[in-house]
Symmetry: C2
Subunit: 455 residues, 2 copies
């Protein structure tokens, strides 16, 4: 079965063969964002570049805006600097900055020197800001007037510059004092309902909440949860307005952050991996985490090596050690997932590890007894030894309590110490629970060796 999108791809490849670009442009114009990500992920670099240079810069810019930042940056990296500059000129300031931020500084410089000087100056100012702060997220394109102007003047100006303003998606108009300090926000509907001679200062909303340049993404998410605003003005230390952080950009950055946390928790480090990236870069990113993990695994398994004598007398235990390891890991990871979620919505603070531990111990008891009973029953049914069932069931029951205790608290403790819990919680958890599980099972076995030997 050929999907709609495969057809899209074939059609595109045909259009790329044509001499003229008109059909190509109107074809790309009709695609939605998923289709754009799809085709760009299926073209080779040469075709990607050919496509972008044959579109108008405006069209190429709106296509690039649909792609994940890293992918967009990689494509820009391989384009001629002049072509890249023409496309970047047409993007909003936050997207320009995001892409140039991903490049090596010489490459970024080469493109900047070929861009529109005004756009380039904006980017140079913005690129120093952390992309996860108000400064990095804001757009610098906004509409502003002085508070001593009248409604009539503004409306006349809006009418005169209708087309230039159309690109700004005006939702609010920002008003400054005569000395350049930020004064407040004007809603279009208030402009509509006011008498033409009214001064702006009379109808603006003066006590507008603003944020400083280093206001962090997490706090912006919180801000937009609390306030149903379209955007929030960003103010410098002299009370001058620098830009607007839009709600949509904050929510998109946050969704990306959540995805990256998930990728990180599975050991995809150093940002996103897309399968269009070069093989060795992808392998290296995954391996950097795996190679730490294999060392942790060897440390955990050394517990087994120290009990080799016990194991050689009760070889049946070897069947249960991987089960104890895997099941404890699962229980612990459930607790990690709940803690990460509670941290992200604010239901728990990083300092409350003790409280969370108390809440996990109950679950550890219930689930530990249930799982211990199940695995103990399996051991009993297999070898007919009640003692073997008690040893493996007891070890799993106790280790489940260990696992949920660690899983619930480790993310909080890491966060409290400023370590990223998405990346580190998993490996720490599995190493310790593996060691504890192997130790419990093998120690219980050696204590009851008389009843177990040669099972």
């Amino acid at each position: 079965m050929e999907t709609a999108t495969e057809t899209t791809l074939k059609k595109l490849e045909r259009l790329l063969q044509l001499e003229t670009s008109e059909e190509l442009i109107s074809f790309i114009d009709g695609l939605n964002s998923h289709e754009i990500v799809y085709i760009m992920s299926h073209l080779n670099r040469e075709d990607q570049t050919q496509l972008l240079t044959r579109l108008t810069p405006e069209n190429a810019a709106s296509l690039m805006e649909e792609l994940p930042e890293q992918q967009a940056a990689e494509i820009v990296e391989d384009m001629r600097a002049a072509d890249a500059a023409a496309i970047l000129n047409e993007m909003p300031s936050d997207e320009q900055t995001d892409i140039l931020w991903e490049l090596e500084s010489e490459e970024a410089e080469a493109i900047l020197s070929l861009m529109d000087p005004e756009e380039a100056a904006d980017v140079r100012r913005l690129i120093d800001f952390d992309p996860d702060t108000a400064g990095g997220l804001m757009v610098t394109e906004f509409l502003s007037f002085r508070e001593n102007q009248s409604v009539r003047q503004i409306v006349a100006d809006l009418k005169r510059q209708k087309e230039a303003y159309a690109r700004l998606h005006i939702k609010y108009i920002y008003i400054n004092k005569a000395n350049g300090e930020f004064a407040g926000v004007l809603q279009i509907q208030d402009l509509l309902l006011a008498d033409p001679e009214t001064r702006l200062s009379e109808i603006i909303i003066p006590d507008v909440i603003t944020v400083p340049i280093d206001f962090h993404l997490e706090r912006l998410v919180d801000f937009f949860h609390t306030h149903d605003f379209y955007g929030v003005p960003v103010i410098d230390q002299e009370e001058k307005m620098l830009g607007v952080v839009l709600r949509k950009d904050v929510l998109e950055a946050w969704a990306d952050q959540t995805s990256f946390d998930h990728l990180e928790s599975q050991g995809i480090v150093g940002g996103e991996e897309l399968r269009t990236m070069p093989l060795f870069a992808r392998a290296k990113n995954r391996l950097s985490w795996l190679s730490i993990n294999i060392i942790l695994n060897l440390i955990a398994a050394s517990v087994i090596a120290f009990h080799q004598d016990t194991l050689s007398s009760v070889i049946a235990l070897a069947v249960f050690l991987p089960i104890i390891s895997d099941m404890s890991g699962c229980s612990g990871n459930q607790a990690v997932a709940v803690s990460m979620r509670e941290l992200s919505i604010g239901a728990v603070k990083s300092g409350e590890a003790f409280r969370v531990w108390m809440q996990e111990i109950g679950i550890g008891l219930v689930n530990g007894l249930s799982l211990g009973f199940l695995i103990g029953l399996a051991a009993f049914l297999w070898k007919g030894s009640m003692m073997l069932g008690l040893v493996v069931g007891g070890a799993l029951a106790i280790n489940t309590i260990v696992a949920v205790s660690l899983g619930g608290t480790v993310p909080l403790l890491l966060k409290h110490r400023g370590v990223d819990p998405a990346l580190a919680s998993g490996p720490i958890l599995t190493t310790i629970t593996d060691m504890a599980g192997f130790f419990l099972a093998l120690t219980f076995a050696s204590l009851s060796m008389a009843h177990l030997a040669h099972l």
Copy 2:
């Protein structure tokens, strides 16, 4: 160290003791959304209910809107129906529906019968829609006029009803034809810039994209990625406008969906778990997944049981079996995470398993050889046996290729068959890679038994 939020909690508990509610109301009014989630997650049910009933219904409604839906629904469930109805009256239609959707139908009915009849009628109409579709996500509060009216008439009406309209956060005005069919959208700025005698039909944007009532969340996310709109009108089969799906509601629902997928992939099933929920409900939700997992683990471990003779001759292998299991699981889960991410942004379609497989095999080779070499070296250094190194290293190398192949393709294959990949990919992956890993290591060992015995 006492955090700011603990102080908040203590202050709140003091205010709850007071006779009058004024201080309490202004205190709650000043909290941000994280602080609200925090305090509600730390109060017992009795205090939660007391707090909500002492606030004004408007205040209580805006507090409830900050909470995760499930938590809000549980609180509503335990309130007197009349109190709940008063609070729900003050919420936008989509939030009313989300909360009542979570309740048993009799409980929801009891509350609906006490709500404002108009609000209740709205909810009854909306509650039949799947919450992940346009019908379930839309708000029914919007501003609409007929296209044959003039700009002057609309402006006069807006001035007259200023206060009633203020609640609607007007960004767009929706225009209907004389027969009630949807005609188009009017931007406030166009109202401002037009001549007062202009008919609305002349200044509306007529070719507005609309969505049907069953348009799915995933497609809405895609829609708002492609189109920089504040909201999109929802239309029934007779072309009548039913409501507006707002971009912010779509992005929030999507962020929730992503979090839930992550929770599900770690075995938190049946929706979100918050630690304020009752112990046994939490334990049961986690256990339902763990108990399937333990059976899968027993199946995988049965491979070891079948090779017990090999193992008792080469007891050193028992140290490496859990490592092979864990490392293969990690490699496979990395591939799962990349596939889930690529599916979600549209870089890959569910029918492209073969293509993804080809892209994973290269990584499997590079990482398999690296990891196999590391573990083989460890085995050689420990026991001085080259053959033991080859057996465990070879098994891990091959099994890494198996793991990334499965990890990359299983999510696509599941999605292609309509199964939720977040929930099922992990258990399927680990079971098969465990079996393959144990089989490879034990078979290689039995084939080279002459060089391995009694290590």
